[in-house]
């Protein structure tokens, strides 16, 4: 009878979660455990994820790692699983329950804060910025945006947020929206982007409008796209997490919990800021999955 650990992922079409899965899968291979990955297919598919967690519990996995589509919404089904004796480990956006065995957290608020500091500095502490803030109602995008906005208000009062888009949540839509911004805000100095993919769209729009050195752009996450943009000095900075390390840690905790061994209840890996200058210093192996990895 093989041992299996489940991993409920909100959205596999995201560099963040692919890297997390990569980390967990590495550990799983090493431990000889099957990793059952269930993808809800989008942050707005909570019902699907609830069903998937139910399925994992039904399949009798030894433990479940959950990156929640929505922490509140999966609480009930998580506590159900815990009630059936299956330990649950939360990762990045953990289920909002106090019955988790462990949480491995990425601090999205902090990622927003780091971006705010970097962008404010890049534009000289004052001027107009716009936010490509990502979809509404998702913990990761909401927290990052909140961290960005609150930090600006506190630490860089000279910077004003003139626009915030929440409809554009992919590169093409971000590109279109940013193009419209180039018309609407001739004085724009900086753009916050919730992900590096959106940032790539913003960069393309600003470049095409000839606004590129004047407008500075910050991002989060660290896919090959972001790495390239930093290399080309088109991105001021990106705030990142050690996502692969988180995936590894989550798996380790889950395995320990399954074996009823002691766990580390709260693993916090700090967010980091990467700029073009610090690009070479990042230990990629704990941050991002290799480009040819296929989940």
């Amino acid at each position: 009878q093989d041992k299996a650990i489940g991993f409920a992922i909100p959205n596999l079409a995201s560099s963040f979660w692919i890297s997390a899965v990569y980390g967990a899968e590495q550990e799983a291979k090493a431990a000889g455990v099957t990793l059952v990955k269930l993808n809800a297919g989008g942050d707005a598919n909570t019902s699907q994820q609830i069903a998937q967690i139910q399925d994992l519990a039904q399949r009798g996995v030894a433990a479940i790692i959950i990156g929640a589509t929505n922490g509140d919404a999966v609480r009930a089904v998580v506590e159900q699983a815990v009630g059936r004796g299956i330990p649950v480990v939360g990762i990045s956006s953990p289920p909002n329950s106090d019955r988790l065995s462990a949480t491995v957290s990425a601090d999205h608020y902090d990622m927003g804060r780091l971006q705010a500091r970097c962008l404010a500095q890049a534009i000289g502490g004052k001027g107009e910025v716009a936010m490509m803030a990502g979809p509404t109602g998702q913990a990761w995008s909401d927290l990052r945006a909140k961290g960005f906005r609150e930090t600006l208000a506190k630490e860089a009062p000279g910077v004003t947020v003139v626009a915030e888009s929440r409809l554009a949540d992919n590169r093409n839509a971000a590109l279109t929206t940013a193009e419209d911004w180039t018309q609407r805000f001739p004085e724009l100095k900086g753009v916050y982007a919730a992900t590096d993919d959106m940032a790539a769209g913003v960069v393309a729009a600003m470049k095409a409008a000839g606004r590129m050195p004047a407008v500075r752009i910050s991002a989060s996450n660290f896919s090959p796209t972001a790495q390239q943009l930093l290399k080309d000095r088109e991105l001021a900075c990106t705030s990142i997490q050690q996502v692969v390390a988180q995936g590894r840690a989550a798996f380790t905790q889950a395995l320990a919990a399954a074996a009823k061994k002691p766990v580390e209840a709260k693993v916090v890996l700090p967010a980091l800021l990467v700029t073009s200058d610090t690009l070479g210093e990042v230990d990629l192996s704990s941050v991002v999955a290799p480009a040819d990895y296929r989940p």
Partner: protein, 335 residues
Amino acid sequence: MSVNLLRRSVDGLRAAGSVLPIPFRVAPLCLILAVAVFAAIAPRFLSLGNAANIGAQVWVLALLAIGQMFVLATRGFDISVGAVAALSSVCAAMACNGWGLPGLSAGALAGLLCGLVNGALVGTLGLQPVVATLGSLIAVRGLSLLITGDGQVVPLDAAGAVTRLGFEPMPVLPASSWAALVLAVGAALLVGRSLAGRRILMAGSNPEAVALVGVDTRRVQLWAYGLCGLFAGFAGVLMTVRAGSGLPTEGAGMELQAIAAAVIGGTALSGGIASVAAVVTGAAFIQVLLTGLNLQGVSPFVAQIAVGVVIIASGLLETLLRSLPSFPSQSRTRT
């Protein structure tokens, strides 16, 4: 082994064939095939627990598909159901926080209202169903964001008590699933036994004639879209019950799945025929497929391809069933 199973299921369905019209045979056959295949790969699949699991999960999609069925039966189309379910979920959660458990019914009411607006746009104002419901899809999403402060989930104060309805097996199935089952039976009665159902089928079967025999077409469309909204509302309440919170951004893409389930369930896009049982089976089939593939460790992207192929295959299956020679397609022309 699976070839044998296939042959046996085809034979079985052929025997049942004389009572079940061909379009309604596709969903059961698909479901049987899917279950057979998964059972062959994963022995645990056929357990009672798993069946209960699926029995609990299928209902969000099934309720949406049932609602969709009413509209498809009138030759309409409603792509706003996912958004309506999300709004209903939020309303249910807010009302439940205010007035306790009975407040959940506010979700159904919100769904009904949205449906009636769609019905008015299509029936009274004569807009094309796709434009009308696309408009309300976007508007309803906007409303959901508006009342939840840009899409924050609405946690239930009494989350524990409510979610128990959604997960704790009463006997076998949780209370919410029994409730959904009752609603499905209600829908079946509505389609098969009620005047409204009969008028809906008439309107789809011959839209030109229906007014000529004295049916008020606008009222029928109002009814059909209203019912569609109502069932989307029920789905929203169910989402709230299972999530313990109102989900304002839920349900993107659900509309297409719901229509697919209804179509696999034999509902003709050209109107006039509908069966609740077949539609629920169609929804169960999609749900089994979605989670079954993932659970087997198939890459989620590959699973997506497989689901697409299977949806198309279900259409081919109907063609195949029609062409099987032994079906008594014309033998009952005279008594």
